[in-house]
């Protein structure tokens, strides 16, 4: 049965005008997942958005593999920090509402 959840790496490369070694380089850097079936390499459809982002770094912004790896790690950190910031902002709202009691001395029901 034909699978619609995978895209041939070659097709992806042809469209984006990137080399096959660029995609395997991303794989070696742990940035993309390549699935091999009967000797053919595929990208999962669910990951295409992320792979396209990495391609944009390379094609649109002329960033090399080492730079893409560094940026990806930094973006992951930014994402974590933004989540932490969001949680802290929520907590700050508690105090801005005039509630300054400590959470530690709570009674549990």
């Amino acid at each position: 049965m034909e699978r619609t959840d995978l895209i041939l790496v070659n097709d992806f490369c042809v469209y984006h005008k990137v080399s096959y070694t660029f995609i395997t380089g991303l794989q070696e850097a742990g940035l993309v997942e390549i699935i091999t079936i009967e000797g053919e390499s595929f990208l999962p459809v669910d990951n295409i958005r992320d792979v396209e982002k990495l391609v944009r770094f390379h094609v649109d912004m002329d960033i090399n593999m080492a730079g893409i790896e560094a940026i990806s790690n930094l973006l992951r950190q930014i994402d974590e920090m933004q989540q932490n910031l969001h949680t802290l902002q929520q907590k700050l709202l508690l105090y801005e509402a005039g509630d300054e009691a400590a959470i530690d001395d709570t009674n549990t029901y």
């Binding site: 042809v14 973006l75 949680t87 709202l93 400590a102 709570t106 009674n107």
Partner: protein
Amino acid sequence: MAEFIDYYKVLGLTKDATTDDIKKAYRKLARKHHPDLNPNNPEAQRTFQQINEANEVLSDPENRKKYDQYGENWKHAEQFEQARQQQGGRHGAGGSQTGGFEGFGGFGGEGGDYSEFFEQMFGGRGGQRESQARYRGGDYNAELQMTLEDAYLTRQEVLTIDGKKVRITIPAGVEDGQTIKLKGYGAPGANGGPAGDLYLKFVVHNNGPYKRVGNDLYKTVDLPLYTALLGGEIVVDTLSGKLKLKVAPETQNGTKIRARGKGFPVYKQEGKFGDLYITYNILIPTGLTDEQKELIKQLAGTQKP
């Protein structure tokens, strides 16, 4: 009417810029403003859209020629278009999928207006593949505005996507800013290819009495002075109904109590809830009668130093 945009200025170039200059300027600005490098930054997204637009116009010789020719009088370009069409000319596709369905407050999400592989190539622009090849449809990004109360319960929502009404289920407990992927609700595929996905971002407005931190809720409740002094029972409104609480004698102002499992539902974990933290705000009576004042004086006299 739309204002004229000086695309050369946007890229920091002059009119005699070469194709190479344009490419370099675009890349330099993209490295600073591209939405991929500025996640959750709408300002960068807006700036980049201009940069991208400038690049699309100036890096395409045909578009650049037209832009250079008409400049600030670009509105006359329409006549130019008509003339060209009469000659059987065709203009570059350009642009990307930023619209397509209605019923939302706007578009957002990472990557801004790009999902090239699906939206452009898979839409059939590439021309490097056989015309009968099956292409997946592009992804959509949308925002859904809701209140904290809306997010408390699993709910059905009817969205209008590409003119069609689609019923989706939003699980209880979604977070403000959370994005979910609705597989197959994006643009239709070509030649029988699968549809793209819809990335739906929730914007949860919270102007009510509850503050939410993760799955926990916080609320301040007024407590009569005498109940605080002598203890008793109070009934508190929660998102899941009324909650009866025992108040310990000599409860201090600002005391926090935790009602386990009375907070927000945990996303996609049925039956699991966060906690509700209630802070007591003790109300000092006003408008005391003379008799009451006298009694309080007597009470004060009994207080040990």
